[in-house]
């Protein structure tokens, strides 16, 4: 992609949380291919190292940033390191999401709080740190939150996650309003049904496939590489006049009945 393409991230620096594998890694890879320098985050040093290595060997530029998003102390240290490595940041993708599909009645306070910490408090705090840095450098910044269709509609047996993702959508709009005047656009993507590792049982189930064939407009599961382009779009110059939006990437699931 040439530097003049509205989808180019040339010269931009991006942090993608939870990017050592899965959809986060897909986003990091696509960002790197589009010219961004990417910070790879995860809790496992080995996995982060492996992801950095893969991006670097494909000709991209990647830096490791190992920390647990739920650990405020680790987050602060990592942020210091990020400032030491690059000093600025143009894009934050809040991708880490924890899910707990227990029945409502089975939750205890501890596990609800743990989930909210990872899915809601962490993106809140990271957005705070990152926007401060963006404002200090007068960066035309972008924050993209990875939400879920569960932030827009609901099913049984997913209460905590649904609550968190609804909250994340609210945070997206609130930050769009508050940070917009400071040059930062904030949006979210809401993935539907993707062939990711945590979904492997459902992916293997022909009944789910048959159900998706009926329930989505495109009639199938989403492939892992089909989410990242939407994130790239919202992070790129092409989306300069878009803020506060929740873009569903769900094969038409929400629009279809």
């Amino acid at each position: 992609m040439s530097d003049t393409s509205p989808f180019s991230l040339a010269g931009q620096d991006a942090l993608i949380t939870g990017s050592s594998s899965g959809l986060g890694f897909e986003v990091a890879q696509l960002f790197a291919r589009s010219g961004a320098r990417v910070f790879i985050n995860g809790r496992s040093e080995d996995r982060v190292r492996g992801a950095v290595e893969k991006i670097a060997s494909a000709g991209g530029i990647a830096f490791p940033l190992v920390f647990d998003v739920s650990d405020t102390r680790q987050m602060a240290d990592a942020f210091e390191r990020l400032k030491n490595v690059i000093g600025k940041l143009d894009i934050l993708v809040n991708n880490v999401g924890m899910r707990d599909r227990r029945a409502f009645a089975e939750f205890d306070a501890e596990s609800v709080r743990r989930l909210l910490d990872a899915d809601l408090v962490a993106p809140f705090l990271l957005a705070q740190k990152v926007s401060e840095l963006m404002i200090a450098h007068q960066t035309r910044g972008r924050i993209v939150n990875i939400s879920s269709i569960a932030g827009l509609i609901a099913q049984s047996g997913d209460a905590a996650y649904t609550m968190a993702k609804s909250g994340l959508n609210g945070l997206t709009r609130a930050l769009a309003a508050e940070l917009g005047p400071k040059g930062i656009n904030v949006n979210a993507v809401a993935p539907g049904f993707f062939k990711t590792d945590p979904n492997r049982d459902a992916v293997a189930d022909p009944e789910v496939a048959a159900w998706l064939a009926r329930r989505t407009s495109v009639g199938r599961w989403g492939e892992p590489h089909e989410l990242a382009p939407a994130v790239l779009f919202l992070a790129s110059p092409a989306a300069s006049y878009i803020s506060g939006q929740i873009l569903a990437v769900d094969g038409g699931y929400l629009a279809h009945y």
């Binding site: 040439s2 530097d3 040339a10 010219g35 190292r49 950095v52 290595e53 893969k54 991006i55 670097a56 060997s57 494909a58 000709g59 991209g60 530029i61 990647a62 830096f63 490791p64 030491n84 490595v85 690059i86 000093g87």
Partner: protein
């Protein structure tokens, strides 16, 4: 009028005022792609992590003499280098540049044998067409005739065998393997000629840089060299001042050759231009011999183990390892090389495109068929350097490729952070320079 004693009194160089990624910018605002003035800038010219590490060290401690103190960055950098060094390497002696590293290596080799009870070992064998530095010992070891000529009466006695230079020296009917063994045989022959128990060390660059233009040895050559050294108790000194620290896609270039030296010299990429630093690494066996003998390597300079320089080196080596840059060098090296091959592979005056990783040489010839070089009086390399520079490319052309007098090449050693989009910043100025000069 300037009071700086310049490299060349006839040259009127522009003033470099800033650096940005792979580019250098002069006082007039002109930008130059830095494809390896001398293979120094591996992280580009504006690495925030390295500059911050230097500033942080300066705020803590600028200098403490190694006769009294060690320092945190020196200890950490030595740990990191040894953890990633070839087998057997256990100690690191920090200096301020490449020549200091090779000079120290020669003296350490001598002292090792003396302390081991073999004071008759005094001969050093090196290779023609190699460069090991400009101080008297290092220059003696180097085999570049032009650099040595006027200083010859001052130089110490060193034998020079042929380099492993496949493009020119392999016989037409000879396999690469057979050629490698034949080239290595020169070492054994020279050891036997000098008297096996009088030779202290053999010194070589795993990939010959400045004087040959990025020439790796053929497979098997260094394995055979290692065997010969072991057989006769001769130390193997590898000079990776230019080819080490990731330049070839390996932190230590000799990894690709599958050998471990007894002494290893690094510099250039270790400081990446952010600080002047070099290092001589040695085996546990050598260190222990000294430690259990006099305990004192009779060497040293004021600035060895400098805290700020080692802090820079530490940040650089961490960056090389943490950012997956070795893999990147391999990939980008292949891309750059294939772009060079498609641009110049059929050029009537480019005889060979070779190298390893982001360390690539193009040999310029008068005739591709016969491989005949240009007449040295034409000064092709010098003209190439000037023409490429005018086009905004900093690279390293040299003459004397064949024998110190004849032959020309262009050496390319761009930063490891260069992108595919920047390949034309190298290829196009080269194309224009070639058409202007030839």
């Amino acid at each position: 009028m300037s009071h700086v004693f310049p490299r060349h009194s006839k040259l009127n160089p522009p003033t470099a005022v800033s650096g940005e990624g792979c580019y250098l910018i002069d006082a007039s605002g002109k930008r130059y792609f830095d494809s390896g003035d001398a293979a120094v800038s591996c992280l580009g010219h504006s690495d925030v992590e390295v500059t911050k590490a230097i500033k942080a060290q300066l705020d803590k401690l600028a200098f403490a003499h190694t006769g009294f103190f060690t320092s945190e960055p020196a200890e950490e950098l030595a740990d990191l280098l040894v953890a990633n060094a070839p087998e057997g390497i256990e100690r690191v002696y920090f200096v301020s540049g490449g020549s200091e590293a090779t000079e120290a290596a020669i003296k350490l080799a001598r002292q090792y044998h003396v302390e081991k009870g073999e004071p008759q070992r005094r001969h050093l064998i090196a290779r023609k067409q190699s460069y090991h530095g400009n101080t008297i010992g290092a220059l003696s070891a180097g085999g570049n005739e032009w650099r040595r000529q006027q200083f010859a009466p001052l130089l110490i006695e060193v034998s020079h065998i042929s380099p492993c230079y496949e493009y020119v020296l392999r016989g037409e009917a000879e396999s690469a393997e057979a050629y490698g063994l034949r080239a290595a045989q020169e070492l054994e022959d020279e050891i036997l000629r000098l008297g096996p128990d009088t030779v202290m060390a053999f010194m070589a660059e795993p990939v010959v840089g400045a004087t040959l233009g990025a020439v790796p040895a053929v497979e098997g050559y260094f394995k055979r060299i290692r065997e010969i050294c072991d057989q006769y108790g001769v130390l193997l000194i590898l000079d990776e001042v230019m080819c080490g620290m990731g330049r070839t896609g390996y932190l230590f270039a000799c990894e690709a050759d599958g050998v471990s030296p007894d002494i290893l010299c690094i510099a250039k990429g270790l400081g990446a231009g952010y600080q002047p630093i070099g290092a001589m690494l040695c085996s546990g066996e050598i260190y222990d011999t000294i430690a259990n003998g006099t305990g004192f390597f009779q060497h040293g300079h004021t600035y060895i183990g400098h805290p700020v320089a080692t802090a820079a080196g530490l940040a650089v080596v961490r960056a090389l390892l943490d950012r997956g840059l070795m893999s990147r060098v391999t990939t980008m090296g292949e891309k750059l090389r294939s772009a060079l091959v498609s641009a110049f592979g059929q050029h009537p005056n480019i005889g060979d495109i070779r190298g390893r990783g982001l360390f690539i040489g193009l040999e310029i010839v008068a005739n591709r068929e016969t491989k005949a070089p240009f007449d040295p009086s034409l000064g092709i390399a010098g003209k190439m350097k000037k023409a490429a520079f005018a086009e905004g490319l900093v690279c390293y052309p040299m003459s004397g490729t064949r024998d110190g007098k004849n032959g020309d090449h262009v050496l390319l050693a761009p930063p490891f952070i260069m992108t595919e989009e920047q390949i034309p910043d190298i290829v196009e100025p080269l194309r224009k320079a070639l058409s202007k000069v030839l």
